[in-house]
Each structure stands twice: as C-alpha cells, then as structure tokens.
Amino acid sequence: MSTTQLLAPNVSAQHWADPSHPDDRPFIRKYVFSTDHKTIGNQFMFMSLFFLLVGGALAMMIRWQLGWPGQPMPGGGVLPETMAPGGILLPEFYNSLVTMHGTFMIFFAIMPLLVGMFGNWLIPLHVGASDMAFPRLNMMSFWTAVPAGFIMLTSFAVEGGAAGAGWTAYPPLSAVPEYSGVSTGQQLWCVSLVILGFSSLMGAVNYITTIVNMRAPGMTWLRLPLPVWALFITAILILLAMPILAGALIMLLFDQTLGTTFFLPETGGQPLLWQHLFWYFGHPEVYILILPAMGIASEVIANGSRKPIFGYPAMVGAIIAIAFLGWIVWGHHMFQSGMNPLLGSSFMLSTMIIAVPSAIKVFNWLGTIWRGDIHFHTPMLNALAFVGMFVIGGLSGVFMASTPVDIYIHDTYFIVAHIHYVLFGGSLFAIFAGIYFWFPKFFGRMLNPTLGKIHFALTFVFYNLVFFPMHNLGLGGMMRRIYDPNQYGFLEPLQPMNTFISVFALALGASQLVFIINILWSLWRGERAPENPWSSNSLEWDLPSPPPHGNFEAMPAVYRGPYEYSYPGRGEDFWPQSEPPDGQQVSVKTGGSPVAEGVPQ
C-alpha cells in the first residue's frame, strides 16, 4: 500500500468542530445515542454514580446488621419476607448484600467511573483528536454497560435472591444452588458480567487505537498528560484481563446450567482452577481500578501546587512497572487456598516488589508539592487525600503480602480495611478530585466550592473513622462475610467497635448527599465555567466549556509537556501545551491533513 496511506492516519477523516454552522443533531443523537465522546463520558458518569449510590445503600444495610445484629432495620419493613422479615435481615440476604455491594462498587461504579467516564472525557481532548477512533463502537460500549447493570439489579428480584457467593464467587458454592440457596441470581450475575466484559473490551480497543494513532502534531509520548498514560496502560490491562474473566464466567455458567464439572470435584473438576483464573484477571483488575486514579491525582496535584510533576519519566515508568508486575502476583489471594506453598513464596516476592514502583509514585507526588505554591481548591484537597489514604492501603497490603502474616489476617476485616483504603481512599477520592476538576469543562458550570469542601471534610473524617478501626477488627480475628459476629465468644468484645463503625458509616453515607446536591444544583444553577478555571495546561482548557461537537476547529499543535507550571520568566504561572513558543503565530493549518487522502475507509 502506498506510503501516503500509511502516513499520519490520525489526521484522516477527523470531523473538526465548525463554528460557522451550529450543531444540528436531533435530540436523540445528541443526548441519548450520541457518538460524541463527551456525551458518552457524561452518560457513564450518571450511570456509575447511580450504581455507586446503590452500592452505598447496600453497604448501609451491611453496616446496620453488623452494628446492631438482629435488630429490625429502620424502614427495613419495606423489604419482602424473603430478604428481611419484619426488617430483620436474613443471613442469606446478608450474603447477597455483601456480594452485590462488592460487585456493584467494583464493576459498576469505580470501573466505569475511572475508565468509562474519565477515559471518554479525557483521551480525545488530551491527545488533541476530534473524537475517539471508533465513535459508534464507543456508543455501543455504553449501551451494553447499561443492560449489564440492569440485569445485575433485577437479580435481586428473582427467585432465590441475588448472587450470594461473594464478589469472588468461589465454586462449588457459586456453582451448586443446593449449597448456596441461590440459583437464578448467580447465573444472572455471570451473564451480567460477561456482557459488561464486552462493554469494557469495546472501550479498551477504542482507547488504545485513539492514543496510539490520533495524537496531534507535537503530542509525543513523553508529552502526554499522565491520565492518558494511565488510561492507556489500563486499557491494555482490560484488553488482556477481561477475556480471562469471560472465559472463567462462561465455564462457571456451564457448571451451573449445563451440568459440566469444570470446578466441581465429584468428577475431577478443580475448585482452585476458578480461583487461578479469577485472580489472574482479578489482580490486574485492581490495578485497573487504581492506575487511572493515580493519573488523575498526578494531573490535579501538579496543577494544585503549580509545579511540574516531579520525575515525569519515572512516573510513566512506574505505571508500566505496576501494570506489568500486576500480572505475576495473582497468587497472593490464594496463599491459604491449598496452593503449593513454594508457589506462595514466589508470589510473595513478586507481590512485595510492587511496593517499589508504588514508592516511586508516592514519593514523586511528595516531590511535586515540595516547594510548590499549593492552592487548596476542592480537587486538590481530594487529590492530597488520595495520596495519604493510598499509602495506608498500600502499606496494609504489605502485611498481607507476607505469607506468614497473611495466615492470620486472610479473610478477616484486615482485608476489608485494605480493600476500602485502596478503593475508597484511593480510587474514589481520586474520582471525586477528577469530577470536581473536570465537571466545569463538560457541563459548563462550576461545582459549588463551599459544598465541595464540606463534602470533602465530612467524607474524609467519617471515612477514616469507619475504615481504620477495621484493621483492629481484623487483628481481633473477625472474619469477613459473617452475618453475626456474636456467634463467636471471642468476637463479642468487638461489638462496640462494630457499632461505632456502623454509626459513622451511616454518617458517611449521609454526607454523600452533599455531593449529590452539589452536582444536581450546579448542573442548572452553578456559576458559569470559564474556559480555563484552574489555569491548567492541557489542550482541553483552550476550548469553550463545554467543548463543541468535534472539539477543536483544526488539528491543534503541541509545543511542550503538560506540566510546565511556574516556568521562570513568564508572566503567568502556567504555560498551555498549545501556546507556540515566544509569540510565534499558530497557523490554523498546522499539521493539516494533506496526507490524509486514500486512507482505506
């Protein structure tokens, strides 16, 4: 094929924004079945926040049961007999609560928020493209995620209730209805996740192609904003990990419905096979849930402290290193599973080594705020909280990574504490930071800073009061996923602490109302957002808020890295990537598309 076809495929067939004539898409194309990455990002935001709310509500019920075991839950009367007769939660319902809480939070809240929402919002704008490489595929990615979530929700209503084998769904429990009392629910769980897998897959293909092929002139790899780097690596993780989960889920589904015995020992199946496949997906998955958060935090922290990110190349290297190591540590979830102890030792080693690239990131964040000029806008507050909390979660990970210590704390609340320090303290705080940071760009209105700071303060305080004591519960020997600790004499002394946790958990849930109100209010009443409210550098801030359909009017040109803050001898303390060096004029035709003809369509 002729070289002209090979050259610069990225400039071909991009439909840049055209200010001269208005965007005349019919309503349905504009807001519902839109192929515009910004709209799809917004759609992902609303969907995932809804599921975050659901997951949160389930958590509230969990906490009620643990705080006041066997007490009728206020308003619990509305639940059907099969769940909570007279408002008293049943053990089988509790198992469903825990399972669905984990499932919703991980697969339907955090993952679509980080990957679906931020991926769509940021990638095309940050690389300077008019849209994703495959806009229609992008739309399908969202519209397959919705039914997946819907199926997951409806599984509460089916005979036997929702899946109740934990979000890790270990067979035989998850494969044999007689053991768990759940049949249809567990199958719907598998189906829903397979569908969600397709959705993520479509997203990943899109992201990778867009980032590799559609970067604007001058946007070299080492000038990419860190969120894009993180999302790129994350997309690769999704691409390679999701199929493994899909395969495992399908085998589980066969065991449940057809009568195969992949995971059932009677005729030689291997229960541990599921665990290997699940965690071979599962650990990359948890890095899918943290890497984008790290990217967002880096962006916000550099902006908030008006300083270039400390050691950009090292930050990129660390992301890659974490992602790679993430593939060879899955066994650390199986130390006590009966897996060969020698294998355990090697998994301990690989797991521990992940602390090193993580260290690089943490200390480089510290290096970034060091001698900075820190502005405490709401995004910055959340980003700083992210650093502080992620460190706690990460360090507790090191305890579990040590095989002998894990003997004691495996499947105790120490793990639960870890989960929430990395996922809530890590991912969710970064998500809050990102939402406060980019909301103005995509909805054209600022989020109210006062409400924002209140929300942050309440969340931060209550969050720590809820999850830090869980470490002690774990050290006290309290197992996970137990409906009523008081069944064990040695756990009764922990009840006051459980009640304490529950009180503040309810408070934590309630304080999220501030956030909801802030979002809903600001959508219509918030003060109009300027082009560049945070005086930030990356390309999207040159555009009106919200950016027009097609983003840029012509292929933008990029002259420098994204973190040139406080450059000596400049008037203002930021330096947009697109600003040509010393006043030289931008030619609208920069990088134009002369080479575009004849690229196969």
């Binding site: 109740g164 229960p271 090193v356 001698r371 405490f376 305890f399 495996h410």
Partner: protein
C-alpha cells in the same frame, strides 16, 4: 491479636511486628512529610513554585531503599511460612505428630481421632462433631478435607488458617503451648450458615488427653457421625432441614 498458643505462633507474630515497625515508620514519614509540605508550601501572596522536573538522585534513593526493605521482609517471612505450611515435608512438622482427620461440611467440623493405636482408619477410630481435642506439647497433624464447598479451618489463637477444599486433602499441623478451650472458626464464605460454623478446640495435659480418649471409647462414640444437625445449632440450622445440604 490474641496471645499465641502454638509453637510457631510467636514466630509469625514477630514477623508481623517487624512489618509493623517498617511500615509504621514509612507511614509516619510519608504522612508527616505530606502534612508539613501542605502547610509549609500553601499559597501565599508572591510565592512562586520552584520550576523543577525532578532529581534523578532522589528518585534512585527512594527506589532502592524500598526495594531493600521489601526484600528483607520476604527473606524474614519465607522460612516460617514453609515451616507452617509444608506439613508433609521433611523437617517442617515434627515426625511424631498425632494424626487427626478433620472434614468440613455445611456447617460443621467432623474430627476423626485415631484412638490409642494412633493410626487413622483403624477399628478404634472415633469421630466427634465440632469438638477438636489435642494434647499439649505434642504436634498434631491434621488431614483437612471438605465434603461440599470450600471452608477455611481457622484457629485464631494458633495462627492457623487453611482452606478446606473439596476433592483435596491438605495437611495442617500445629503444636499447642497452652491448655484450655479455644475457638475454631470457619473463615471462608460457605453459605448462609457460614457465620455460625464454629467449633471448639480443647487443649489437654498429655495424660488428661488419654483419659478423655478412654472415656470417649468407653462411651462407644461411633466411628461415623450420625447425620442430622448438632445439638446446639439444631434450631435455625436452615440448610440441613430446609434446602437440604449434601
């Protein structure tokens, strides 16, 4: 953590404290640095941030130090790990261990005792449900199995935890250092009775253990568990009545 009651328990705890000290120090260091910087460098009129892209030297330092630390933790952890988990390997568990069999099922633990001849699968075996009795100062070697789903054999005071996987027999060993009664818990979600799948572990003086064993044999405890739920969990043991487990 409850006071250790097994020979390797203290060893495990010491690893825990080593890690606690290391991570604790790192934690304090990082968080104080964070807070100090936040206060020290907060925005003030006329403050300009220093424009720097980083420092190779510093980055190398905080790459190498954590690396050494974690390698040390791994080194410190590995021996005791293998000692605890490789019950059937040379030199891990004492040779003269008392053989027992524990089979988990929803939602109870069935313990097979070898009887006086200390051989399993002989005529003088006997089985107790939810009661594990061991002598002090003598290692016991348990063949751990499961009939239905995955359970987890958890002795908090002994720092013992091992999943019981159907289709596998996994060796577990420990040696009690304190007499008394201790909880045996199930740590792996195994169905709606998971939260109450508990049993008791009683550690006897050596001769006391023999006496107990003699009594059990005299009382003619069966070599097979009679089916049906155990007395104290009979009420509300939904599975074995309602949905009917294996």
């Amino acid at each position: 953590m409850p006071e250790s009651a097994s020979t390797f328990g203290t060893g495990i705890d010491s690893i825990y404290y080593i890690i606690l000290w290391i991570t604790g120090a790192i934690f304090v260091f990082v968080e104080t640095a964070l807070i100090v910087f936040i206060i020290r460098y907060r925005h003030r009129e006329g403050r300009v941030a220093v424009h720097t892209h980083g420092s190779k030297k510093a980055e190398i330092v905080w790459t190498v130090i954590p690396f050494i630390l974690v390698l040390f933790i791994v080194y410190a952890s590995n021996d005791i790990w293998l000692q605890v988990k490789r019950a059937d390997q040379e030199g891990a568990a004492p040779a003269d261990a008392l053989p027992l069999r524990v089979v988990a099922k929803q939602f109870e633990w069935n313990v097979t005792y070898p009887g006086p001849d200390e051989e399993l699968d002989t005529s003088d075996d006997f089985v107790k449900r939810n009661q594990l009795h061991v002598p002090i100062g003598r290692a016991v070697r348990i063949d751990l199995g499961s009939e239905d789903v995955i359970h987890s054999f958890f002795l908090p005071d002994f720092r013992v935890k091992q999943d019981a996987v159907p289709g596998m027999t996994i060796p577990v060993w420990f040696e009690a250092t304190r007499t008394g009664e201790f909880p045996l818990a199930c740590a792996e979600l195994c169905g709606l009775g998971h939260y109450r799948m508990r049993a008791s572990l009683t550690v006897h003086e050596a001769d006391d253990f023999d006496r107990w064993q003699a009594e059990e044999l005299a009382a003619g405890t069966p070599a097979e568990v009679a089916d049906g739920p155990e007395a104290d969990t009979a009420e509300e043991n939904r599975v074995s009545e309602g949905e009917g487990s294996a």
